[in-house]
């Protein structure tokens, strides 16, 4: 025994002290159980919610947006995979040289990157969005903790400004803003998927809380557009606008057999890959703008006169003395003529001749003809903001209006409507619907005129590009061309503006069996020349010269252009 007996007896270990201490310890354990019970039953919802803020992630799985192709499956719009780099600033461990290297790779200022790193309260900060995959790969190869890469898509338009108005473009959230991208957005975008999962602190998926909903990719679209034709039209239209200092221009090329739009071009244009400073440039004016077509309406008048009146191509009409009084108004021809046949009225574009034919017709009949040809109503081609044009009800027509409408004044159309109307002359009186989608078989048309009348008008249109006509410059070597020029004063707020014009030309080729129809419109030329035959017809000629050969369309005409004999002055059309 270590303790001495005397000492031993003095040791007192009071039992109450032991009990007090034990009770104290056990009470503290009770406290723990109470706290644990509170946390794990009563307070759990709050804590679970707090936990989800850290570890639960709901992400939207982006579908792959459908591609847009031209009729030959050349891409017009594709979504390229790009990488968006992001970080969790609290987890990032980056040395100063590394920071500089990353900034250099991403073409950022190191200071900017440093600022983003300071956002410690956030768990998700984009370093840079939409980085080229190879650049992102180089950054990821540096293996910096807390830096991540996520796949995104960037819309790319290979045809750039050439097809901008038709294709349109998408916004930051990958939805269509203009053009086909907007109109067919539902089909192209597909449906997004969803994922709701628990992740660990490094971002790895631990478990899915809800079954993953996979995204459904958007569908591809095949347009009727031919990228090469589109390019040729764009090139020639740009040249014309430049040459004539025009404010704007538009052109539509249709497949004469199917009504498919092969090209649709507007100037000015913009780059859909970088749509900035685009105000006023994005309108596809061939579809959304209306204008008074002028003399390009005369063939419609002649056809109606032959179909519903007592006219034949050889019917003689007195156009002397070059003007016609109707009530208090007078209409003029540019050059006074004598007696003209119906064919010559078209060839020389006589307003008087056209008006006389129109006045011989029942006005309801004429109005109905316009409607039958699709004027005054949308073509339903499938494009956002399509205009309907204006054709007033026949009951409100006065005789002077009936007369001016016959040569395209007092009536407003879109360039697309005008081009479509000419399908009746290319297809023996049958009007075709127009479309921007590639068709697998020709559509069913609607008979507006008899084949005999339609072919007769087509013959007259061939005279227009012959000596004595208004559009010699529309000729294409090796092919027969049929077409009609138009020149009109623009309609301003105070009526017609005497120094602002729209020069146009609508033509088809080869005339023996038309394959292509093209309508060209040059808006406000400012270089002295403004007749459709002078400014619009050459565009037709230049485009067709290339396109006909590219499409290997058989020749049906002379190998040499027919020139105007020296003694014959160039014919200017009336306005």
């Amino acid at each position: 025994m270590l303790l001495k007996e005397s000492q031993h007896k003095l040791v007192k270990l009071p039992a109450w002290r032991r009990r007090t201490l034990l009770v104290l310890l056990l009470l503290s354990f009770m406290l723990l159980l109470g706290r644990g019970f509170y946390l794990q039953t009563l307070h759990k919802e709050y804590l679970i919610k707090k936990g989800e803020a850290f570890s639960r992630r709901k992400v939207v799985l982006m579908p792959h947006r459908g591609k847009i192709y031209d009729r030959n499956f050349k891409p017009l719009a594709i979504s390229l995979p790009v990488e968006s780099l992001w970080m969790n600033p609290t987890d990032v461990r980056m040395s100063v040289p590394q920071l500089k290297q990353v900034a250099t790779l991403l073409e950022m200022r190191p200071k900017e990157l440093q600022q983003k790193l300071q956002q410690k309260k956030k768990e998700f900060v984009f370093i840079k969005r939409r980085v080229a995959p190879d650049v992102a790969k180089q950054v990821m190869a540096m293996k910096i903790p807390g830096v991540f890469s996520q796949k995104e898509y960037k819309r790319f338009y290979p045809a750039a400004d050439v097809a901008a108005h038709v294709v349109g473009f998408t916004g930051v959230d990958d939805t269509g803003v203009e053009g086909i991208e907007l109109f067919r957005n539902g089909v192209l975008s597909g449906t997004t998927g969803k994922r709701d999962f628990v992740r660990d602190r490094k971002g790895h998926v631990v478990e899915d809380l809800v079954a993953v909903k996979l995204p459904h990719d958007g569908q591809d679209l095949v347009l009727s557009i031919d990228r090469t034709v589109q390019y040729i039209v764009h090139r020639e239209l740009l040249k014309a606008v430049d040459k004539h200092q025009a404010k704007a221009a538009a052109a539509v090329v249709l497949d004469a057999k199917t009504g498919e739009v092969l090209a649709m071009v507007n100037i000015p244009t913009y780059n859909p890959n970088n749509p900035v400073n685009i105000a006023g440039k994005t309108r596809n004016s061939a579809i959304v703008n209306i204008f008074e077509p002028g003399s390009t309406m005369k063939p419609v008048t002649a056809a109606a006169a032959m179909e519903f009146g007592n006219y034949t191509p050889e019917t003689k009409i007195q156009t002397a003395p070059g003007y016609l009084r109707i009530g208090t108004a007078t209409i003029h021809d540019a050059h006074p003529n004598q007696v003209l046949t119906v064919s010559q009225v078209i060839q020389k574009s006589s307003n008087v001749g056209s008006a006389k034919m129109a006045l011989d017709l029942d006005r309801e009949q004429l109005w109905n003809t316009y409607l039958q040809l699709g004027f005054g109503a949308q073509t339903k081609i499938g494009f956002p903001g399509e205009a309907a044009g204006k054709v007033r009800n026949y009951k409100t027509w006065r005789p002077i209006e009936q007369a001016t409408m016959s040569y395209g004044h007092g009536i407003s159309v879109t360039l697309l409507q005008l081009a479509r109307a000419y399908t009746v002359f290319a297809n023996e009186g049958e009007l075709l619907p127009v479309t921007l989608n590639k068709l697998s078989e020709p559509p069913v048309g609607r008979q507006v005129f008899s084949a005999k009348v339609a072919n007769a008008v087509k013959g007259m249109l061939e005279l227009v590009v012959q000596p004595g006509g208004t559009a010699l410059k529309a000729q294409v070597t090796g092919y027969r061309v049929a077409g009609k020029t138009g020149t009109a004063h623009k309609l301003g707020p105070q009526g017609y503006e005497h120094d602002k014009y729209v020069g146009s030309f609508v033509g088809m080729v080869p005339a023996s069996n038309p394959r292509l129809i093209m309508a060209v419109m040059i808006d406000e030329p400012n270089n002295g020349e403004y007749y459709g035959g002078t400014i619009a017809a050459p565009v037709f000629s230049a485009v067709m010269n290339d396109v006909l050969r590219m499409l290997v369309i058989p020749q049906d005409g002379n190998a040499m252009p027919t020139v105007n004999p020296a003694e014959m002055p160039e014919v200017k059309e009336a306005m």
Binding site: L13, A15, L22, L32, G36, L39, K44, S55, D200, R201
Partner: protein, 388 residues
Amino acid sequence: MLGPLMMTRERYNSPSYDISLIWVVLSLLAFGMVMVYSASIAYADASKMFGHNSTYFLMRQALYIVVGLVAATIVFQVPMAWWQKMSPYLFIGGIVLLILVLIPGIGKVVNGSRRWISLLVMNLQPSELMKLFIAMYASDYAVRKATNMHSFTKGFLPMLGVMVFVGVLLLREPDFGAFAVTASIAFSIMWLGGVHIKIFLGMLAALPLAVVGLVVMEPYRLERMKGFLNPFDDPFDTGYQLSHALIAFGRGEFWGVGLGGSVEKLLYLPEAHTDFLLAVVAEELGFVGVLVVVLLFAWLVIRAFSIAKEAVANERYYGALLAQGIGVWMGVQGFINMGVNMGLLPTKGLTLPLLSYGGSGILANCIALSVLLRIDFENRRLQKGLNS
């Protein structure tokens, strides 16, 4: 007298060891090992420092337990009389180690605290051994100074002086948790040894002053306080660790998400395998798991105190005080650790005895409980009329 009663056959044939204590300790060790593994898989797997080896901590913890059990077996052979005789020397040895650990080059710094001495095979944490040595020293002191225990100057003051010295050494590391535990052990033994009740009442009054003093000395403690009161006010910085511990408790609900199913251990909750092991238990095994752990600790404390009661009956005062000191150690350290996990107490670096990962802790706990088992063993022998 009880003599004839004690010599009954049943009493003689009863086991010489406290079998249930052995089983409870082994259960806690085994359960701790499973939970350490579960809590550390993702952490070890993700870290280059641990060779991306998911069993890194499991293997080491298993080794520590083996070392601890071997040490416990050896320690069990040592009679209490020897421990009592050696108490002052062991205590001096402990103080030497606490001084050594503060010397740069010998003491190893981890997370800003100089607490470890590298011994090639494993790191020794002197403060863990000090908890046992202070219990032995205080018990011996109370028995030696039994006549003067009621006196402030002769009984209490010398012990207070020693404790202040040890406290200064521990706070130099700093290791506030070990300081709290050693102080609790020493003052509990003083209390049990008969220090005058007025002294304790005075100390109770001085406690708030001491807390203020500590905060003034190390302002970071104030930050910890604030973080502990409202962890979700700043869940990315000062409240980060506790936020995630509490989230783990909430996620566990009553029955737990299942063993291995913790999300918070997936790199969100730092120190999940050491100081915050209970949070992982709470998440994976729910309130039921927490309840079992708390009850086992309560059982340990009750058992230590009843062994002490037996020792008092046998007039083995040193053993009685030491048994209670060990009980207070397990109880207070367990309470502080669990309280920290639940946001009842401010965060301090303190492991859960027998469960948390750590070589020194496991070794010290095994030795201490082996001593407790020895006290009980000697009680039983005395009751059988044998020599201790």
